[in-house]
Symmetry: C2
Subunit: 393 residues, 2 copies
């Protein structure tokens, strides 16, 4: 029994090797196999590398078409997109915003930039996202409606918005979350930073709420170096998002009139050029990532103690990061598995630590987080770059 | 008399034409004549386009060497650099920060991001920057020292920092401003967004205070598409700046621990690659801009009503934007000159409107701004791209 347990980390290494071969592998690397080079050259030749240029317009239009929304507004990164989305949702100082405790710190930071407070909610194993039934129960018991606002009974503050995040690209339980936001008067903003290319019942993630947010960081499915976008079907929101992210300057031939406190969050044309080329290759990347999932599925199928995470029912996931779940009985092996795999040249990592445990958020309101805590002990991401599929041969 | 007056706008057009030839000209265009192409290719080939990569380190090191500071920390743009510099100067909610009313809106916005208030100061014709003697007199009368802080007698709030800006690249009166900051216990942060390549008494602008801030926007002397940097000689500040601009994550093989509210302000490697190539060409660009100034000097020398702005005494300016000053008697011709030049294909623009006149800052404290108001009526920027020098032949 002891022998069997201690060999699990080695078996994980063997399963990864079986799927992707012996060579070391990063967690997620970008690849540039299309028009990146020619679009960048076009930027330099035209001298339009910065605030104006056709690639920003084209990338925004291409993103809107691909995700099926009316408007996409590109910005410097996903954090900036979240910040502006929260402001446009009407988040005010002292408001609370419901976000998963199990997510990247950017979501909580963006709430803090609005001088508002993150209010942490639990996650479920089924989707790795917000546990909607548990949240419904929590809101039922802990909030009251006042003047059309959802108010935290304990703090007395308005809970303005709900920001679910589609973990590793896997869509959350959107039907339930949309219903919840509607019933409790919460603005729904989807943090789709990880889920470009992921669909829920055939509709692209990030398009179910008033706004959705994408990221094109270097480790994402497609990259612009650094970048993000706000998705919306609301014309007024789209116009305000463009205005706020470009210093709130009013159009004029030469006068500088800015009519509110704005931000310098626009995506430079050179980064958008990269994005245009990357987006053209998205379907190929998604196919490779699905193929990689199938390879891992085979090689991890013999495990009883470890399960490869599959896309939730009714969804098509981009499988941004492949994840294995250690069974509860063996969760104490997490760090050993992390060490063994990393020492063998395969970059792996656990999911984020719970945000409510960070010192800067330790006084934020939170519901019971048993689900998230359990996942944090059991989830490990394994190498997920699209070019790993078929690398073995 | 009427005839003579109305012909001034036409004479301005003629003087610009004499200097740079008949072809239309933008206000300031970037040019890419060095290693931009090969460095970008290196980024794509290595796949390091994003958060890590050698060009970020190299650009930071090259900037530090060029400007003569110990540390340069690159960020997404000048606004982000200002925001972080103000936070690291200890600017707290309700504090006031002295900034010129005559500057780009980013400076005031960055103060607002800290939940602090811009306190507007006047500018002088000699440098186009902060009028230091007038500011001294104002501080003398309107502030008091409490516990080592400079306190605004009227509002009762601490005036934490002084942020002079080197307008169009021309160094402000730094000797006086350094002395003032020292005497009144103000943290000095130089907004050197426009003055890369400008020196005051042989020392690079942006290196006189606790921190300095650079911008590499598309219209600047060198560009990274979008980008900025914080300059400092203080190791602790440099370390904190890097930490705060990269989500305040503590180093760990796989854990995500962020020990304070951080920002996603890092410059992507692909933008830094452009910066490295551009910085290699800075001295050539500066020489061209000086030559362009000489051409304008000749063609505007016949005017009595209009003066081409020269670098202040004891300085070497980068001449980022060439500026003409209309004599006070003819300041009512400003908009006519702007129309006539723009209609003739030469892009010109006035200086920014005074920030205290924007609705979002109209309740901010301000000193008498007669100097700035006078300059706003009389200054016009004319085409300034380095490649305009010698274009005529």
């Amino acid at each position: 029994m002891n022998n069997a347990k201690s060999s699990i980390p080695n078996q994980v290494v063997a399963a990864i090797k079986e799927a992707i071969g012996e060579k070391p592998a990063q967690l997620h690397e970008p690849s540039f196999e299309g028009n990146e080079w020619s679009y960048l050259k076009e930027c330099l030749d035209s001298t339009y590398v910065s605030s104006v240029g056709k690639f920003v317009d084209k990338f925004e239009s291409d993103l809107a078409i691909y995700t099926g929304v009316k408007y996409a507004i590109t910005v410097t990164n996903g954090t900036a997109a979240l910040h502006i989305a929260l402001l446009l949702a009407g988040v005010e100082p002292k408001d609370e915003v419901l976000i998963p405790a199990l997510t990247f710190v950017a979501t909580a930071n963006a709430v803090a930039y609005c001088n508002a407070t993150p209010h942490f909610v639990d996650s479920e194993e089924k989707t790795l996202g917000v546990d909607a039934p548990k949240l419904r129960n929590y809101l039922e018991q802990n909030t009251t409606q006042k003047n059309g606002n959802c108010v935290n009974k304990k703090s007395g503050n308005v809970i303005r918005a709900l920001v679910p995040m589609h973990t590793f690209g896997h869509p959350s339980n959107l039907s339930e979350l949309v219903a919840l936001a509607d019933e409790y008067n919460l603005v729904l903003i989807e943090d789709a930073a990880e889920s470009l290319g992921s669909f829920y019942k055939g509709q692209h993630t990030g398009t179910f709420g008033l706004m959705g947010v994408l990221s094109f960081n270097g480790n994402k499915t497609i990259t612009t170096g650094g970048g993000g976008a706000i998705l919306t079907n609301n014309e007024a929101i789209a116009r305000r998002a463009k205005h706020l992210t470009t210093t709130a300057k009013l159009p004029h031939k030469w006068e500088f009139i800015h009519d509110e406190i704005g931000f310098n969050y626009r995506m430079p044309n050179i980064n958008a050029a990269l994005g245009c080329a990357q987006l053209e290759q998205l379907s190929l990347k998604l196919a490779s990532k699905k193929k990689l999932h199938d390879l891992y599925k085979d090689s991890f199928s013999k495990f009883e103690e470890i399960e490869l995470f599959d896309e939730p029912a009714d969804t098509s996931s981009n499988y941004w990061l492949q994840a294995i779940l250690i069974s509860k009985e063996f969760d104490y092996l997490r760090d050993e598995i992390l060490s063994e795999t990393n020492n063998s040249g395969y970059m792996t990592r656990p999911v984020w630590g719970l945000l409510n445990e960070l010192s800067q958020f330790k006084n934020s309101p939170t519901m019971n987080l048993d689900g998230a805590r359990d996942l944090a002990r059991r989830v490990i991401n394994i190498p997920s770059s699209p070019n790993l599929a078929g690398r073995k041969k």
